[in-house]
Symmetry: D2
Subunit: 465 residues, 4 copies
């Protein structure tokens, strides 16, 4: 298993075509807007070598005959799904943001299931490739969401809005299109593309699941902006860790057949989508409560510094933050422990609870953040730069006015998590990651047996069936 240092080294060898603010980035590993997100991923490597956490951060793999990083592991038992949530909480707490490696893990497991359903050929190709991922301990970018353009149109009506096969040659496929919101793409070794929506007969060109190096010819990455991203690397950044989302453009990227897992199998792609959605919606029950562990601590420290932490209304609000975070965590845990075994041998989360978990994540973090803004006081939005605190003429007076340097730095951290770069992970990603709220409601509705519910109620009301 790679160490954090080996991970950093491995990133430097890539010939990445990455643009930030209109400029090509010569070395992503030192760019101030990328570095914080690399640091977050590196935690996932470091933890596997940390004696305190190694038992949680690693797992035995039959494929390689030894321990692998849990982020490349198959969910071989319900406990694996529960441990995933626990591991995510620890990393969420440690980084205070998104550590970007869950999409890959959840995609691996979903592909294991979908390729098994597609047949032995597909499954065999996938397992061979996955064995390499485990051996090298790769960081994967799970690339699902297409641009989609006008949501009323199907892929064939606007093919340019979807990643698709545009050619087949030399024992492989040629891909064109784009994938949006790619978490951690610029920090990855490989991209795993998957369809972003349910497909129908006649839409086989879009039914493609395949893997390729992040620096495959034809791939261009454009870093998404984040609030206050220009502060990254500076004293006002608030948090040295960060998340990352990238638009990945595919300009006729060739993928050889051994890395094409699904091609035109619309049914298997539906399985893939649903399996991934379930895993990834439960994942938010791990990382986000971890993030909020850090936020609660920061807000508590701010109030402690201001002398209000023990005031009854402050205590009440801090407890409310805890309650909401634990609600998210609890449902995520339950989705994991109440899992069922798939025919291929791996375990799947409970779909109702997984969607319920994610649906709470589209709501409760906003209330947690609202309370954080309440308890932090107005200074959260009006504090001058740290540079001002250092000013020889007025820095001392200003430092007194803002309540001291500790409070200033703590508020910068809260600012990062509520309004700053970290807000992408703590709000936007909560809302749209793994599917927007409307998507979860569809699953909740579909998994309810309405006829049975109504029949039972009729019986209880004393009516004939």
């Amino acid at each position: 298993m790679r160490t954090a240092a080996q991970y950093l080294d491995s990133l430097r060898t890539r010939d990445l075509r990455l643009f930030v603010d209109g400029e090509r980035v010569p070395d992503a590993t030192v760019h101030p807007k990328v570095l914080p997100s690399i640091r977050s991923v590196a935690l996932t490597y470091a933890l596997a070598h940390d004696p305190e956490h190694a038992a949680l951060a690693t797992a035995p793999s039959e494929l390689v005959g030894g321990p692998v990083n849990r982020f490349t592991h198959l969910f071989a038992a319900p406990e694996d799904l529960v441990r995933k949530i626990e591991l995510q909480r620890i990393l969420g707490r440690a980084s205070g943001t998104c550590f970007q490696r869950c999409v890959g893990m959840d995609a691996l497991n979903a592909l294991f299931i979908a390729t098994w359903e597609a047949g032995p050929d597909a499954h065999g190709r996938f397992v061979r490739w996955m064995t390499g991922v485990q051996e090298r301990d790769d960081m994967l970018c799970g690339a699902m969401t297409d641009p989609k353009g006008d949501r009323r149109k199907r892929p064939p009506e606007q093919p340019e809005q979807f990643l698709r096969v545009v050619d087949r040659r030399d024992g492989g496929v040629v891909l064109r299109g784009a994938k949006m919101h790619q978490t951690g793409a610029a920090n990855s070794h490989q991209i795993v593309v998957m369809p972003g929506g349910m497909l129908r007969e006649g839409e086989e060109d879009f039914a493609i699941a395949a893997a390729m190096p992040v620096d495959a010819p034809g791939i261009t990455m454009v870093l998404g902006r984040q609030p206050s991203d220009d502060r990254k690397g500076g004293p006002d950044a608030g948090n040295r860790f960060g998340g990352q989302e990238v638009v990945v453009l595919f300009d006729d990227v060739f993928v050889p057949a051994e890395r094409v897992f699904l091609d035109g199998d619309v049914a298997a792609c539906a399985t893939l989508l649903e399996a991934f959605a379930g895993y990834h919606r439960a994942s938010y029950g791990g990382c986000k409560p971890g993030n909020f562990d850090a936020m609660v601590g920061a807000v508590a420290a701010v109030t402690d510094d201001a002398g209000t932490r023990r005031a009854s209304h402050v205590r009440d609000k801090l407890v409310e933050m805890i309650h909401l975070a634990e609600t998210i965590h609890g449902v995520g845990l339950a989705a994991s422990s109440k899992s069922t075994q798939h025919g291929c041998g791996t375990w799947q989360v409970d779909p109702v609870l997984a969607n319920c978990c994610k649906h709470n994540v589209t709501r409760l973090p906003y209330e947690i953040g609202r309370i954080a803004e309440d308890l932090s006081g107005g200074l959260l939005g009006t504090m001058p730069s740290i540079a001002d605190l250092d000013h020889p003429e007025f820095g001392e007076a200003l430092t007194t006015a803002v309540g001291g340097r500790d409070r200033a730095h703590l508020l910068r951290l809260v600012e990062n998590m509520t309004y700053g770069a970290g807000a992408v992970a703590l709000r936007l990603e909560c809302m749209h990651g793994a599917g927007s709220p409307a998507a979860q409601r569809i699953v909740l509705e579909r998994h309810t047996d309405w006829a049975e519910r109504m029949a039972h109620a009729r019986r209880l009301a004393g009516l004939p069936e």
Copy 2:
């Protein structure tokens, strides 16, 4: 294990001193205000003999060397705690209300722990008695809440507001006082009294845990009123099942030493209180989602009947009810699966998640009920009696006006669950059962390591510790 019929028979042999609306009840088992709650308890006996559910409803006991009803069982593994939640959901769905037997189950387990901490004598006495409970398959009333009078005063300042030992004689103790809100008391075989609050040194007379038959001399029970309780047994009742709460008055009740489990052991009573609170707060993650399964079905059926079920806003609200109910269930499951083993061998729920579960129960059911009232339409609150529908002169016209008899009966069921007798189980009990919301917040606050949280946040903010 008793069958439902044997349970009913066993109730008739008691010489219960029960009053309803100022009148002594000669036979509780046929009183229209008591019968619905007996029917609910009977479900817990019937399920153990139902081939479909017996595996869930029973469990092996080492004490009696065979299967016992799960409601008398010790939590011997995390799975037992999870199964408890699953069993509660099934019974909650079947009855649409409180089936009253969980307090006893949770009290047994808490007493097992507390008496073990108190020492081998106490534990031995308790286990001997509990073995009998399992053998006879007793229904227990777990009696905890004292009247409390003026909440600012301690028990010794207003002893009449707390159950207490007033005499010791003939190898036993004499108890005086009252216990409030006693779920299922009049449907039980035995009462298990326990202190209702944390006690201090000098308050030993209140530190009493003991068991006695429900018809022990000196015990008087007074049935609590419920909304629309006068309709019970009639066509407007809405649900033939019901819950029950009783005020139990203790007028110098003698309890022989073999049924006195804790007496003056303030520390063990604290353990008892906390263990019981944990178990019972998680229990709401089972029964209430079950109740709401029935409510959702009833509301869906009403909208189906009115032709609106597939309207987008109706679907959206039905899904919201599902989401909220599953949130409660998920956290209850998680509190159970994330359990820890006590020194005595049994398992305890996670206290943070158990309190988080119950805290959601003090909120989400109100929103679920609000939606139910929305979707049911105004007729929910304005429908005439079923007797009017039968009237020879205008019954037909009225039946047409209310949308038919089916809709009328379904609305009576929803009315029962939102405004009627069932609302005690679906709202009030949600709010105050196993402790009011403020009690859960105290536990959530106490179980958070604030210093550690703040220290971590300081590190993340780049500050020295």
Copy 3:
């Protein structure tokens, strides 16, 4: 203007055909299930003669050349609309429930507008009739809601589900059908029927607005049940005031032409519906905050009695109740003060704010009630009957256990307002009165100029229009 006593006398002269629980009521004015609602209406008469409130409760009428009860008055200035809200709050507070006279007031004003639009004949007929209403100070039942059956069908597809003209003879019309949820119908002098939904060409038979005595031949009334209605008149009632909803069946009721205001004028009926909805949705900004004034007082008194009123979390929750009630009130006031003058001379509320007011009423009362249930403690749902407190053997012990007779009676009042008969006014009526939540959303959407909003945003974003 009638006094309260004269109002009661006037009710006795009616030959009402009213049924309660399947039985014809010989004298509605003494029936225990009707009397509480009569008492509430009587307050509206009494207030006009109360020196402290007469200025608010009366207004000068040009039609009769002197003061009339404000409940029969036209809104001649924005101040009239504001005073309506203020008057409603006082009566809502005094009764703690619905006083049933607002529908008639709002219907009068809406009919004034709609008949003016229909033409001088219609308007003349209406004004002549209305002058009599003012002179006699009549209580009116404004009858709008039809049964509607299957909501997917139009009136001509299921005519039996709508009030309609079935014959025209002898200079009048014959009406058949039913009106649902008729607030105060059995306490009224006249019924004013109006269409309950938007009608189209070809649906003229349903486009009828007319007035008739409550005891016109062919009219049958059936009283709606309310939770705990059997307690009315007894010691457990909680509140001597009450509301009332009635199903009114029309079995070929003849209405002479002079009391037929609109007949087949689909456009004027649309005006009528919208005008009424606006007025009545704002009305909830008056009465409901008044009801909650009483509820807040009751809950505060309960906590005061239990010694918890000054605890920080209790104070916080009491303040929250205040905040929510004032939010309702504020928007109701604003809808009234921001009014516009109609061509006929009277003033109309702001439709956006009126619908916003009512929409809050479908939500905030549920949270107010939730807090009331929290602060009242579990005894709210478990208290025995007042008769039990009087029992010679255990009454004293029970009275001690429930915290004394004062607390018992206060809890009965809170119970009435949250779970009891009063809950129809404080919950169900809040949800569905003057239109269900979905109806308000339609108006809010329709009154928003989306194109203008989007164009402005484009300008702000620096885009061309």
Copy 4:
């Protein structure tokens, strides 16, 4: 009255000592981080000369015998308070952010009342100075909030945390300390300092209300950072308008007596604080709904562009935004129309409704923003820079992927209002401006007559008083 151009000119003549990010700003009027906020203030000047809005934006003043900008006007009638709200909504919509001139207006009115209570000398000084403000049409910085340091300590225990008189000489006072969160300070002509909290006897040195030019010797201003403030002036800014908050440091600033309005009059300062709080808490009922008008438009335009605007769940969420914004507006209007006349002749808002208005502003904007983030889609948080869209190599493909340039710019506007620089106005200022939520609850509690409420409830419950 000044024009917008004259206002800009007037700012250039100031010798402002302003620091941004540690650097002194030579000319605030051209600094990219200041200019957006100047543009917002300029709107308040432009509107007074805009024929469409002049009637609303100006008002006649007895002091200068002619029309003045409404932002320097006294509230001479309830209509003035209502028009203030209406004017604020227009400006809030036009700018999409805080236009910074309300604090001055509300401070003028509060000082008019407080100095009148302090006596004719104080009042005369104030009126003379205020006449000049009206004549010159000055922009005022109303400076109230002190740093406060440790909230448990009174001002004399930590004088450095409060603005205070440190010397009296040459017919004036010398001030030292700081004022925090000073909205629009760097865009103003004068600063009006006022105490930021209730003071007691012995704290007279802190009881100072006075005016001074923004460039008075000893004054240093430090601009507060805002999220993404480095983007201001660039293509990713999202909104050319902006708000501004400044820390103002007072290093022995001399104020001559004619501009000292209150000095040591603790009672008048209490009046000042309460009057200002009332006015300013109602003000949020104007500007914020205006801001949300723009946000709703932007979000609607984004969904329109993506083809989802007419989807039922999108319509439902857009309506919800409208509903919440109008709730804020309605209560603000009501606080204004339900005003009372002070002895000095001006009118004051209803304190309960004003605090209720602001209290809703600490909650509902967060839900409005949450919906905006939902409807905007994930791209809101992941969109690359506008510079990337222009890139010669991949710009076209990227523009296709993000849905076109229009969508990109609209999303930048929404981003500005939810996560960007504008979020300070639309979230933080909503939370803490004019007092944090806890402050409003104190007023709501204090203005409730609890004894009367409880007495009324006892009567209703049939109890003796």
